[in-house]
């Protein structure tokens, strides 16, 4: 009984860390315009809309976060192997990973923007100086929380995987959660605030992203301010629930049927969530209805 209580407590703590990580990850990727909204930032100058938005095209978020978290975990593992204190090792590992993230971010912005010279998009050096540090700060929170969560799973719950392998698995999961949950807030709403809400993205509007703010010109940090209200917490809840349910079902149901209990519990959780998702979707469609105009605007899903 005591063991189960301890396990549930660790699950709750890991879930809380994951929530913080998810929120920070999504805000970071929105500030840097990573993931699928990046395609519109990349397209805008080609349509004649020169902008001052960051263009952090490292790769999709899941592989990128797979690297940052696996790197933090790898460095922390190596430092722990030479008898460093675990907390210190995790902090140094995350700091090294954030340094690499920052360097990749700057090379992506410089490379993409310099390659758009034909469309007269200049390189704004002040963006590089002001925004890179903000994405690095958010990335540090996301990476440190995720690596600490992996460390807890290994040390407190006795997970058999070594730290770098846990890092790659949960890093990819973190990137996927943030990319799937948070990006619509930025890519489909924030970038197209000058079009009616829910209008979709007709081809004629491609690249016409919002470039001017209420006062002055829009900066990527304003996008972080916007998405930290809805997108960040939503991604955090998504990743937190993934981690919590994953650990919770294993701790409670693993003793049943030689481990199959946990597998069956996992399938049941997925079915329950599918029912909830379907209900929310039909409720939203019935309540708000489809978007109607004279000419139906075709939904254009931009490639990431």
């Amino acid at each position: 009984m005591e063991e189960i209580l301890f396990g549930i407590g660790i699950s709750a703590l890991a879930g809380a860390l994951a929530t913080v990580a998810g929120a920070a990850e999504d805000t970071e990727s929105d500030i840097g315009s990573q993931g699928d909204p990046n395609s519109q930032v990349q397209l805008a100058p080609q349509m004649g809309y020169v902008h001052r938005i960051y263009n952090k095209a490292v790769s999709g978020e899941p592989p990128a976060y797979g690297l940052w978290v696996a790197l933090a975990a790898g460095v922390a593992w190596a430092l722990m192997a030479i008898q460093f204190n675990a907390i210190l090792a995790l902090v140094i590992g995350s700091a090294v990973a954030v340094f690499v993230q920052g360097v990749y971010a700057t090379t992506a912005y410089l490379g993409r923007t310099a390659s758009l010279a034909k469309f007269e998009q200049p390189v704004y050096i002040d963006i590089l100086k002001s925004v890179t540090s903000v994405t690095m700060a958010h990335a540090f929170v996301a990476i440190f929380a995720t690596v600490t969560m992996c460390f807890l799973m290994i040390e407190a719950l006795g997970h058999p995987f070594p730290l770098p392998l846990m890092g790659i698995v949960w890093g990819i999961a973190l990137g996927a959660a943030g990319s799937a949950t948070g990006n619509p807030f930025y890519g489909k709403e924030r970038q197209y605030q000058n079009y009616p809400f829910g209008a979709g993205l007709p081809i004629s509007a491609s690249g016409d992203i919002v470039r001017y703010a209420e006062a002055g010109e829009r900066s990527s940090i304003d996008n972080g301010w916007f998405t930290s209200k809805g997108a960040g917490p939503a991604s955090g809840i998504c990743f937190g629930l993934i981690v919590f349910f994953e650990l919770w079902r294993t701790i409670l149901f693993e003793p049943f049927a030689a481990g199959w209990g946990a597998v069956i519990a996992g399938v049941v959780i997925i079915i329950v969530f599918m029912v909830i998702d379907r209900y929310v979707e039909t409720w939203a469609r019935n309540t708000y209805g489809p978007y109607n105009t004279e000419e139906a605007a075709p939904e254009e899903e931009a490639a990431a």
Partner: protein, 286 residues
């Protein structure tokens, strides 16, 4: 049938880069073997150099492959490169049972075979119909396996399988051999895998666009490679003597600093304008 779009004009022919990549990486990997011959660890950083040379060549392979309209396929090409390369690398490291000298050259042959099969499946069975697909996937698999081999040699000073599964832990003052403290048992390979996979796709992914230029993309490849070397040097504290780690780290920092500043210079050269705290310049005049 996909249409080829020329990514960038000029630069070195791809076959020349292939030659430099294969020969350069092999030479560097054989220099790492001097570690075993001379019972030292200071040559470990040559493994990192081998990986950087392979990445430099692989960037051009990705560019050739992705000039057939695979915009979003650039990161995927990096993943398949390392994903298939890791199989060839692990298989080749077992060849050390016959002779350690067989490992680097065997790695290239095994990777070429695996890559050709994967390329054939993608091209003909999945019907992607890209003329260079089979060759480029084979090249990318070789690049991926050489990158893994190089960074593994740099982190542990050896590419022999029996060394990769035996780490040492000091327990009550005694050195005990432990699988969990080894390169493979500790899964440092997972970190090396991601380092290589992002480093190989990033240069072309970051520099693509109408004004992409060969020297800037290749400089970005070197920069990504040296940056990965730098963190591999930090991780090698778990396996190598402090002297070898300091040498690896110092060389990586110098080379990374040089390549990063060169990359910024090239970006400045290619950019339309280089502005600091200036408003949006509307195209077509005010």
């Amino acid at each position: 049938m996909s249409v080829k779009i020329e990514a960038s004009e000029g630069g070195m022919p791809h076959d020349t880069m292939l030659g430099i990549g294969v020969v350069g990486a092999l030479v560097c990997l054989y220099i790492v073997y001097l570690n075993s011959l001379m019972s030292t660890e200071v040559f470990a950083f040559f493994g990192g150099l081998a990986a950087v040379i392979a990445l430099w060549w692989g960037t051009d392979s990705i560019k050739t492959l992705c000039s057939y309209g695979l915009g979003t396929g650039v990161p995927s090409a990096g993943m398949i490169s390392l994903g298939s390369g890791v199989i060839a690398f692990l298989f080749a490291s077992k060849l050390a049972g016959i002779s350690p000298l067989l490992v680097p050259i065997g790695c290239i042959f095994i990777a070429a075979i695996i890559g050709a099969i994967l390329g054939f499946i993608s091209d003909k069975v999945l019907n992607m119909n890209i003329p260079v697909m089979t060759r480029m996937i084979a090249e990318l698999t070789i690049v991926g396996s050489l990158t893994m081999l190089g960074f593994t040699a740099m982190v542990s000073g050896s590419f022999i399988f029996t060394d990769l599964i035996a780490g040492s832990v000091s327990f009550l003052g005694m050195e005990v051999t432990s699988y969990a403290a080894s390169v493979i048992g500790g899964c440092v390979l997972a970190t090396i895998f991601m380092l290589g996979a992002i480093a190989i796709q990033h240069p072309f992914n970051a520099c693509l666009g109408p004004n992409e230029s060969w020297d800037r993309t290749q400089m970005c490849a070197l920069e990504c490679g040296f940056l990965s070397m730098l963190v591999v040097a930090i991780m090698s504290v778990a396996f190598l003597s402090l002297f070898a780690v300091v040498i690896s780290f110092a060389i990586s920092v110098i080379l990374w600093g040089w390549s990063y500043s060169e990359y910024i210079k090239l970006s400045k050269r290619d950019a339309f304008a280089w502005l600091d705290s200036k408003p949006i310049r509307e195209v077509g005049g005010e």
